[in-house]
Symmetry: C2
Subunit: 243 residues, 2 copies
Amino acid sequence: MNDRSTSAPLPRGLRQTWGSGTAAGRPGPKAMLSLPGIASSAIALADAEGAEALSLGRIAERLGVTTNALYRYVDSRDDLDVIVHDHALGAPAGIPEGEDWADAAAAWCRALRDRYARHPWLSDMRVRIPFAPHSLAWLEDLLERLEGSGLGDRETLQAAGLLDGYVRTRAGAVRDLLRADAGTPDPGLLIREIGAERFTARVPRVASLMSSGLYRSPQAVADEDFEFGLDRILAGLRQLAGG
Amino acid sequence: MNDRSTSAPLPRGLRQTWGSGTAAGRPGPKAMLSLPGIASSAIALADAEGAEALSLGRIAERLGVTTNALYRYVDSRDDLDVIVHDHALGAPAGIPEGEDWADAAAAWCRALRDRYARHPWLSDMRVRIPFAPHSLAWLEDLLERLEGSGLGDRETLQAAGLLDGYVRTRAGAVRDLLRADAGTPDPGLLIREIGAERFTARVPRVASLMSSGLYRSPQAVADEDFEFGLDRILAGLRQLAGG
DNA sequence: ACCTGAACACCGTTCAAGT
DNA sequence: ACCTGAACACCGTTCAAGT
């Protein structure tokens, strides 16, 4: 059944992260680097200069090594990205339990949001279907929390995807706002350059929200708004589960 | 109040898209290209080869022109991306009205989903805070649909963000799955390489869902699942509005 | 087995011409 | 004003050495 012949073998970096670790005493010179060390270096770089500063060359430079040396640890840039993402995300830990399943799920969402807040550039990384250990551990943790809901397997998975997607979307909004300081045009400038009359004629409601300061303002991505969407989603899920 | 001194001037491509169009008879040679023409060419390229094939060189090649020629129409690659995204998205049109505001919002969500389905690579494009005309027209349309809800301005904007984010997250999931054919490892391979026992020990619920075929299977991103999340969100919003 | 050095194709961006 | 051609710094990736 599972003979998808095109499926590539697991990249070496990802396989290593799963702990099929390097056999202890193998021949040849000692390694100067390690996968966690490479990941930490990349994270420090991204923390300091953002995701767009990430490159094999810059990471290698920090490690005092040639770019090509990294290919002993990683198959490709994509492979590295998966490792860096997972390392920066970290394992789920210390997440409060909550009164009931929905409360527990809410705690999970806030904990994930906090991880993204620690490394805003995580929102800039291309996250494909998660196959890395920490990513799957987070999913596992959420699935466990949803077990008390009485939802079926399919619905539980759907609910998990809904909540997970919500947190990540929100993290992206926060990231956008952090970036808005540099480069991005601000709403006021846009309206001025387009012409207030024309702008108002074409998108009156948007214009009204922009001039009210509500549109994409810092408060529009504040904790309060995070809770708004979370509450709505959980209310919808509760209605389905408890009904 | 609005003196954010770091705000850059509006990129020329974006300004042009807003219809501050080229003044008719200006001096110099006639232009060989046009912004819509450039965007169309880029869209055709992305449709054929995906977002990662998009580059100034490849687009220029299709247009029979040198890479640098594009800089007469666009300030930067980022500027171009905004135009291409907005052009591929298109203006909102032909979206059913719906019985009530929630129904109307649902129709909006399905319409946006369909646009992403037409150009799956849209999910791969870095969409910053939307300032392009079609993007804002979509937002405007949704805000109009939410007017009957009785929610306040702030809540309406929050609800719009919630719905919009949901559709885009879903579109990304669909894109991931379309890509899964090539390159990405499949769940079965992962479990085999990691070792089924170790894998099951670490993430038992995930392992169970994977072996049940539910995890990230085609049906997990089917229309049925789209409706699941949409229904939950709308139920949550209805509860807040109608209560 | 690990790392270096040289090379390749490609990328976005700039600058000085040409017309 | 538009487009070309040459150049720049940078990118990921490969290959053949060296140790």
